[in-house]
């Protein structure tokens, strides 16, 4: 469980470019939750998750993970970081080893695991993100963009963290690669039972994956709750320069046109089921 209380962070404090990036954040995430974070560019999403991952030290306030306070006196930060997987935006920039295998093994090696365990984890992580064994022997710099991204994510997954944080993991990928990565993330969440925090620009992705949503606006939490609670507030989201998922918009228009579609439909599969129900009822008549 992660708990943030009254967390503040300011970049370059004291200088002419001072920027309060997150302000008075209070947030509690439960173990095993899939949390989606949305907000327009510059709203403080990346800063917030870097604070959660212990990569930035809050100016004030407290962050704790499973009872251990980040940057607390009794906390071994390096040990604690092994339990937190952090996939930054454009993670392919972190690749540096001679082979993909060695690069994925970098994290587990730092943890001081045995050779066999490292091997097992590398193969497990590679399989989880969908990289073939033959790629493991190649140089990371000769892979395609999507493969690089997956290799970088595997490097984090191989540490088998209890908490996995991802910053826009699909940015800059084609639709095919995007869906595949999201599918793998959903798999990991289900199979390993870990807590996942996902930052994304795509309402569709968040709507179909997350069971809790946090909406950031100007460094503050504007809304938090289940997808139902969030997407009901279409007007408020619009105000913040965000949109509801397209399918939710379609359902709303259909409802206005007189079709009996219930509220709270924001995934394509749910909308499909409802529409089929309506069509069947029509056929019967």
């Amino acid at each position: 469980m992660i708990k943030l209380s009254d967390v503040n962070y300011t970049y370059m404090s004291g200088g002419p470019f001072e920027k309060a990036a997150v302000k008075d954040i209070n947030l509690e995430l439960k173990t095993g939750q899939f949390v989606g974070i949305i907000g327009h560019t510059g709203s403080g999403k990346s800063t917030l998750i870097q604070l959660m991952a212990g990569l930035l030290k809050p100016d004030s306030g407290k962050i704790s993970i499973d009872g251990q306070t980040l940057y607390g006196k009794a906390t071994n930060m390096r040990k604690l970081r092994f339990q937190i997987g952090f996939v930054m935006q454009y993670p392919e920039y972190q690749l540096f080893e001679e082979t993909v295998f060695q690069d994925i093994a970098f994290g587990p090696k730092n943890m001081g695991l045995s050779e066999e365990e490292i091997k097992r984890r590398v193969h497990f992580a590679a399989k989880l993100v969908g990289l073939d064994d033959e790629i493991l022997g190649k140089s990371p710099f000769e892979l395609s963009g999507g493969q690089k991204r997956r290799a970088a994510i595997a490097g984090v997954v191989a540490m088998e963290p209890k908490l996995l944080i991802l910053d826009e993991p699909t940015a800059g990928l084609d639709p095919g690669g995007r869906d595949e990565i999201l599918c793998k993330i959903r798999d990991m969440h289900r199979r390993l039972g870990i807590t996942v925090v996902l930052v994304s620009h795509s309402m569709e992705d968040i709507a179909s994956l997350a069971d809790k949503i946090v909406v950031m606006n100007h460094g503050e939490i504007a809304m938090k709750g289940t997808p139902d609670e969030i997407f009901k507030n279409a007007a408020r989201l619009k105000e913040m320069g965000l949109a509801v998922p397209q399918i939710a918009e379609v359902c709303m228009k259909l409802r206005e046109a007189g079709l009996p579609i219930p509220e709270g439909i924001y995934t394509v599969s749910a909308a499909k089921a409802e529409l089929e129900k309506i069509l069947k009822a029509k056929e019967k008549r």
Binding site: G14, R78, Q94
Partner: protein
């Protein structure tokens, strides 16, 4: 960390000093540095301090911010002072074993510290009040008379502009990569020197890869826009000297005259 370095940073503003022509500022700084190394007594340093204070106040940059520029070289200043203090021969004031402090040593140490201090303050003030673009424009203009004897003024200025342009980008990138590798459990602090040097590899390789990629992209982008060096290129903003520059010149000349007369008279 990296972001605490103010030396070489630009502090945007619209003060009198900000508006001076970069050529004026560069030449004045050269004269200022010459003066620093010619001062022979404490009266001279008094004049220098007053002059520097007036400049900082009129630049409207917080005093503490300018002083912060001295921090990175503090160790260097302290060592210089200690060497001069203990290793100068002359009238002995105090001695203990092989250590001795002389009157000349104290004087020399104080002078050295003051010189370095004013040197950093002056140059910080130049970079804090002049945008990198203006600075390189000024250098290009100042060097252009030497084109005839083969000094590639435009190319030098362009190289400087590009290098300055990429300093913040690379710093940002370094910080990002450090974060990513820290999250993967990289350890930069413990172990002996060799281990620590090895720990830099996961940072340096991605940094080089991305720097080369950026350089390549930039070269292509410049070529796409038909860049072909400085021949016949015109500019949007021509540098112009104003009355403010004349006052600037007068001010520095007065400083130089005061210091040199104090050297002779006192």
């Amino acid at each position: 960390m990296l972001k605490d370095i103010t030396l070489g940073q630009y502090f945007p503003g619209n003060s009198l000093i900000h508006r001076l022509d970069p050529r004026t500022k560069i030449l004045c700084i050269i004269l200022y540095i010459t003066v620093i190394f010619c001062v022979k007594n404490f009266w001279g340093y008094g004049v220098l301090a007053a002059f520097t204070a007036i400049c900082i106040i009129s630049s409207k940059i917080p005093f503490g911010y300018v002083i912060k520029g001295v921090k990175p070289i503090l160790i260097f200043v302290i060592f210089t002072a200690l060497f001069n203090l203990f290793l100068t021969n002359g009238r002995v004031l105090w001695s203990w074993g092989f250590l001795k402090i002389t009157y000349e040593g104290v004087r020399l140490a104080a002078f050295m510290v003051l010189r370095l201090f004013f040197l950093v303050l002056g140059t910080s003030l130049l970079t804090l009040t002049t945008s990198p673009i203006a600075l390189t424009d000024g250098i290009e203009k100042l060097l252009s008379p030497f084109k005839k004897i083969g000094v590639p003024a435009h190319e030098l200025a362009m190289m400087m502009t590009i290098a300055l342009r990429f300093v913040p980008t690379l710093l940002e990138e370094t910080e990002k990569i450090i974060k990513a590798q820290t999250a993967r459990g990289a350890d930069f602090e413990s172990g002996n020197i060799i281990n620590r040097a090895k720990a830099m590899i996961p940072i340096l390789i991605p940094l080089f890869v991305s720097a080369f990629r950026r350089a390549d992209d930039l070269a292509v982008a410049m070529e796409c826009r038909c860049y072909r060096g400085g021949e016949n290129r015109t500019r949007l903003k021509e540098l112009k000297m104003t009355t403010a520059d004349i006052w600037g010149w007068l001010f520095v000349t007065v400083l130089a005259v005061l210091v040199f007369t104090s050297n002779i008279l006192l």
